[in-house]
Symmetry: C3
Subunit: 347 residues, 3 copies
Amino acid sequence: MKNPGFRLSEIVARLGGEVLGDPATEVFQVATLEKAVRGNIGFLANAKYRKQLAASRASAVIVGATDAALTELPRIVAANPYAYFARLSALLNPLPSMAPGIHPTTVIGEGAEIAPDAHIGAQVCIGAGARIGAGSVVMAGCVIGERSVIGAQGLLYPNVTVYHDCVIACRVILHSGVVIGADGFGIAMEEGRWLKIPQIGRVLIGDDVEIGANTTVDRGALDDTVIEDGVKLDNQIQVAHNVRIGAHTAIAGCVGIAGSATIGRYCRIGGSAGILGHLQIADRVEIAAFTLIGKSITEAGSYAGIYPFSRNDAWRNNAVHLRHLDQLVRRVGALEKEIESLKGEKP
Amino acid sequence: MKNPGFRLSEIVARLGGEVLGDPATEVFQVATLEKAVRGNIGFLANAKYRKQLAASRASAVIVGATDAALTELPRIVAANPYAYFARLSALLNPLPSMAPGIHPTTVIGEGAEIAPDAHIGAQVCIGAGARIGAGSVVMAGCVIGERSVIGAQGLLYPNVTVYHDCVIACRVILHSGVVIGADGFGIAMEEGRWLKIPQIGRVLIGDDVEIGANTTVDRGALDDTVIEDGVKLDNQIQVAHNVRIGAHTAIAGCVGIAGSATIGRYCRIGGSAGILGHLQIADRVEIAAFTLIGKSITEAGSYAGIYPFSRNDAWRNNAVHLRHLDQLVRRVGALEKEIESLKGEKP
Amino acid sequence: MKNPGFRLSEIVARLGGEVLGDPATEVFQVATLEKAVRGNIGFLANAKYRKQLAASRASAVIVGATDAALTELPRIVAANPYAYFARLSALLNPLPSMAPGIHPTTVIGEGAEIAPDAHIGAQVCIGAGARIGAGSVVMAGCVIGERSVIGAQGLLYPNVTVYHDCVIACRVILHSGVVIGADGFGIAMEEGRWLKIPQIGRVLIGDDVEIGANTTVDRGALDDTVIEDGVKLDNQIQVAHNVRIGAHTAIAGCVGIAGSATIGRYCRIGGSAGILGHLQIADRVEIAAFTLIGKSITEAGSYAGIYPFSRNDAWRNNAVHLRHLDQLVRRVGALEKEIESLKGEKP
């Protein structure tokens, strides 16, 4: 399947920016500068790839104003070349349109409402009273719980599960294996046995959220779990009950967020990081991969707590001292006193 | 849907405890002290929320004996307010009853036995010779392998997978995306290629176990993987082959437990912790979040091993020394000798 | 179900090795030396289990040449006893054969090609133009995207999802909950909102790969994500877009591999480890559990970076100093200068 081609002049007519070089240059696909072949348009969004510009076989490139003179290739000058590349790629690679309609194998509960232009794939189950919004696509094997709502233009890949009474707004993408609204981990000990605490809150997901494969978002214990507009979650993230994730925050894979944590807006959290329960994270906080946040963060900024790796034998020799670090600090304190004492004794 | 209301007098008649204030006070739902509105019953289970008691708009509260005099609100005095709250919430929020019967889209293998009062949802597959116990609910899209057993009163949310020959006892809850009985990770290197070691053990799960969304429990290599009674597992936990988890142990999300580890009873393991293979963990061990247990623990108690986070630049300045900690310790030892030597030289 | 028995003489005729003791000894199942009963064949693959040999009730054992004299039991002497055990276990425990055919509830898209001897289970969806190879088994609830290819002798357990346009070679095993080809985590910030970057690459999986339950492998952003021949992935691993994993590398559960990382051949990566994006890992690198690899590794060898655990109070006392380690190093440096100065002052 070859994509339809676009001339640079057509592209800027749709997406803005300015053409330098031949505006009739036709491009069919986006590519990195390094891998581009004839018919591709590359992009330079990071200064460290400047050296690839000269050698690139791309038919055209997207560059920022400061890099516009670095090449003779036909080029589009854009304020934000990476965002421009994203928009152009979406233009060149439109999602396949899914025909409206409900597959005959779908099972639909009483009172469920499905927009006439929605696409419901094979072997989907839609619970009683659920609603599927205009233009939404629900692929094969998805299960939507009773009274849950998927807003307009939703896109649920195969084998997504949404429990009952969850509310998902518009243009939300859920990848395969996502589970929305499972019970939070609420238990109370009584005489040597755990009692289950009913999880009666919901999950509310805002507009333009994307959630990666096998990520889980638990329903609230009493109040709701909330994912605000524009949040982007990668794969295999665990969002516990009553968490709130602020708008436009992006979280990489395998992160665990414990119950009732509140994360601000425009945060960026690295892979396999963790946030303990009931903490507050301010807006615009960056958390490094593999870092456990163990107390609230009140100021924007970058935070980390990663044990540096080394060769195994070196690690072993060094790490053993961590169990005696307090003692080492005391030894240094004692030495400082001794030195002071010796200096005082000097004639 | 409004829950049916209960008078405090009716509640203590069912659940025990003592009413102070008007026993005719009617409550419809549980809530936190902070969020409670009229018709709600709050609870005070943690001294740090005492200050919320005065301002709460709850119609009634659950308190312990020592806190009974802190409020004039109608109240139930209970020995264990948090457990009481759990029981009351279950009373006020009963699970919807699922009509007995087998959905016509279900596929059932030869010789499978399904209790007449079980509920089997749409597009479920039940393998040959499998058994589903009395009162169990198996929701849409679940797949139960050949000869596997689900005991009485089981609750399987949508899209759970149980492989063949697994045995799950009574009142077990499995959330969506759970995989029980996949092959353990058993491989043997031979002349540059990995050979697969057949995983011929089973998974045995005791009574009253709950397993969170997308958690995986592998079948044993030769013997069985065992989850004892009353164990509670949160989401996205990995339980490898031949692990044994002792009764009433609770494990938070994203924990990984490597092969043949044995965990005691009444342990509590924090999120994203890890336990290496073949280790033994005693009863009543608490393990902090993000902690890797690298050798067996023979005594009850709390254990941790977390790198403390800080601002990124501070972390970087400090962490760099971890690769030279052994050297630092030697330097301190040398200093101590020098000091001793200098002190010895004193006239 | 009792397995068919094999005489030791029959076994060596099929698998090689040499019999010592009665070649007519019949064995029905493999077992550990410790758990073996009559009719079982044990194996000694690790010197630390030698002491179990004397007490074992196994009817026969597999041993290496150097251990052949340690027992009087009927035995098979093999160059690699563990690999021999793996092969023998496969002989004694053949996978149940699945009858060729397509279950009537399967939904098959236009132009899909399914080998006549493939087994397609209930409620499977196979997208338009997809191909399922000879002898492959696709169990209940799997969804195969449009134009994706499963090679010969594939084995997909229930509820696997493969997105569109992925290519999976021969003898690949995918366990339940695996998601192949979901979108990578590609976003670009523009004026306070994230733009989605279309993920137009594929996932290519080589021969003899096995992927554990709930593991996710994202499709490439522009180029492909590649898992080479013989790679073994445990459960709940996250493989981000454009990662390449070299042939015969084995990765334990819960590992996260960030985008565009390249991992060599014959690497072994421990559980819950992480690899940051765009890094290169050489061949034959071993990475310890719970270790974050934050820069490229150019030499074979073993690497680690694990915070050692201890009792909680000891951990707390020690860990607090990590936030002041740089200061401690400076204090030691100052002491060294002081000592030098004091020594210089000596008369």
